[in-house]
């Protein structure tokens, strides 16, 4: 698989480490009343879809950036690659 890095251009996926579902970007509020339940869900439950999957790839052998990649789990086709920092900022985080 080739991942089209937003800064470095097309890179072999072997340079990256897969870090799982991109829902992991949204860590639950640790002060919420049901924080324990939320963290069990966050830590252990996954949507695991057959089809488009939004996921995190860490460019460990490259610039150490985290990417948010949309990839079809039935074909391995990659349709979108963004910097995770941009995605998080877009949600009003990492000021």
């Amino acid at each position: 698989m080739i991942i089209n890095h937003p800064i470095l251009g097309p890179r072999d996926s072997a340079e990256f480490t897969y870090m799982g579902d991109a829902a992991l970007l949204d860590r639950p509020d640790w002060q919420a009343k049901d924080a324990l339940l939320q963290f069990v869900d966050y830590g252990y439950l996954r949507d695991n879809p057959a089809g488009p999957h939004i996921e995190l790839w860490y460019h460990e052998q490259g610039d150490r950036s985290f990417l948010v990649v949309t990839r079809d789990t039935t074909t391995h086709e990659i349709s979108s690659v963004k910097l995770a920092s941009d995605v998080a900022r877009g949600r009003g985080r990492s000021k």
Binding site: Y18, G20, V40, L45, D47, N48, A50, E55, T73
Partner: protein, 416 residues
């Protein structure tokens, strides 16, 4: 019809006109006591033991494709019980015992061959870890033998014990481990279940669950609605896809694992050997092909095919210990989809939906578990209590912090 040597002789002399299909081709009835979704090894074993051990009468196995067309025909056929943790080892040892008696039990030649499995050790720390594992196995009634480098060199002269980076420092052997003809397991269980009255319904895909008031009443299929008093999911690899239809999220990711077969060779490899420094394992099939595999590709996939970096990694593992394989040509390679759970161990449990049960999360250890998985799942379905060997395989172990994590990798499914 019972299979026997005499029968083969008789058929040979009478033109093979007496053989009958090994199981009936039936249309689904409107209502069953038990509906097992998934006609793989585990589903068929579940149906068989439901009928055999618990006297269940109206049992259906629904299979989307054909019997033997899923993961039961895509694995590397190894059976063993060399686990460390208390939650796992009694279960896998029970499974190995069932393998040992399986052919007589189901009257089917599954070509069970206890040729032994050897896990190689490459460092002092690893020898300590394997010593501990061997002791845990012996405590649970399994067999284990710690071998010295000299013994290994004598028994397996082709191994490169002096590899500069990964010298072989010893190994842990389980002589009762070995290989089984995987297709025959599916066919044998299907035939045995069928003879006890189980309906095996192929080309019947479950498209949804009918759930009312928190209770599962039956399943929608491409061949119509089927009512079921108890509905049992048993589709490891596709668990995420199936249980999403019941709006369940699972502690599971689906990953692709590749496996390989070389061209046929004369007998070169006695038993199963695993490399301890990388991830590589290998055995030789009765046809002569070397059957081997290694790591997952490491990303969510339902594609049943992998990528080349893992192929290279696996072949490097092979060359590190078996330099003799350098000129062997690869015949085939393929990918299978694994339910990779969050702690590397399976789940056999009821769900939060009444009458809906779940068996999955087998990671890439599902094949060896086939008999015990069916045995314990049937027990759960029939009695609504977990079998004594499967009490740890619960859904709530993640919330309670009672993970069964053999490798200590935490909630990283791709690393188990």
């Amino acid at each position: 019809m019972r299979y026997s040597g005499l029968r083969v002789l008789k058929e040979a002399l009478t033109g093979h006109k007496g053989w009958k299909p090994a199981w009936r081709d039936v249309a689904p009835q409107a209502h069953y006591d038990y509906i097992v979704i998934g006609g793989g090894g585990h589903g068929l074993a579940t149906a068989y033991y439901l009928a055999r051990n618990h006297g269940a009468k109206r049992v259906a196995v629904l299979e989307k494709g054909w019997i033997g067309g899923g993961n039961v025909g895509r694995n590397t056929t190894i059976v063993r019980s060399n686990y460390l943790l208390d939650g796992n080892e009694p279960f896998y040892e029970h499974s190995l015992k069932l393998w040992e008696g399986l052919e007589q039990d189901i009257n089917y030649n599954a070509m069970i061959s206890q040729r032994g499995i050897l896990n190689l050790v490459h460092s002092d720390a690893q020898r300590d870890a394997f010593t501990r594992r061997g002791n845990a196995m012996i405590l649970n009634g399994a067999d284990a033998d710690l071998l010295s480098t000299e013994t290994i060199q004598k028994r397996y002269p082709f191994l490169n014990v002096n590899n500069a980076r990964f010298p072989i420092k010893g190994g842990l052997a389980q002589y009762r481990g070995g290989t089984v003809r995987h297709d025959a397991v599916a066919w044998g269980y299907a035939r045995a279940a069928d003879q006890l009255g189980v309906d095996i319904i192929q080309n019947c895909e479950v498209t949804g669950f009918r759930i009312e008031g928190g209770k599962c009443l039956g399943v929608e299929t491409n061949r119509g609605y089927i009512k079921g008093d108890k509905v049992a999911s048993c589709v490891a690899g596709s668990s995420g896809r199936l249980m999403a239809k019941a709006s369940m999220r699972l502690p599971i990711e689906s990953h692709v694992l590749q496996a390989f077969v070389s061209e046929g060779l004369k007998p070169v490899l006695p038993g199963v050997i695993t490399f301890g420094a990388g991830h590589f394992y290998c055995s030789q099939s009765d046809k002569g092909g070397l059957v081997f595999g290694g790591d997952l590709d490491g990303y969510n996939s339902y594609a049943q095919r992998g990528n080349l970096p893992v192929v290279e990694d696996v072949c490097e593992g092979a060359m590190a210990i078996f330099p003799m394989l350098g000129r062997v040509r690869l015949l085939r390679m393929w990918g299978g989809i694994m339910d990779m759970s969050m702690d590397g161990s399976p789940i056999i449990d009821h769900t939060h939906i009444e009458s809906l049960y779940f068996n999955g999360g087998w990671c890439y250890g599902g094949f060896k578990a086939t008999p015990a998985s069916g045995w314990c799942y049937a027990h759960l379905l029939a009695t609504d209590t977990p079998h004594e060997f499967a009490t740890a395989f619960r859904f709530d172990r993640f919330a309670k912090g009672q993970m069964i994590d053999e490798k200590g990798m935490g909630n990283n499914p791709q690393l188990h």
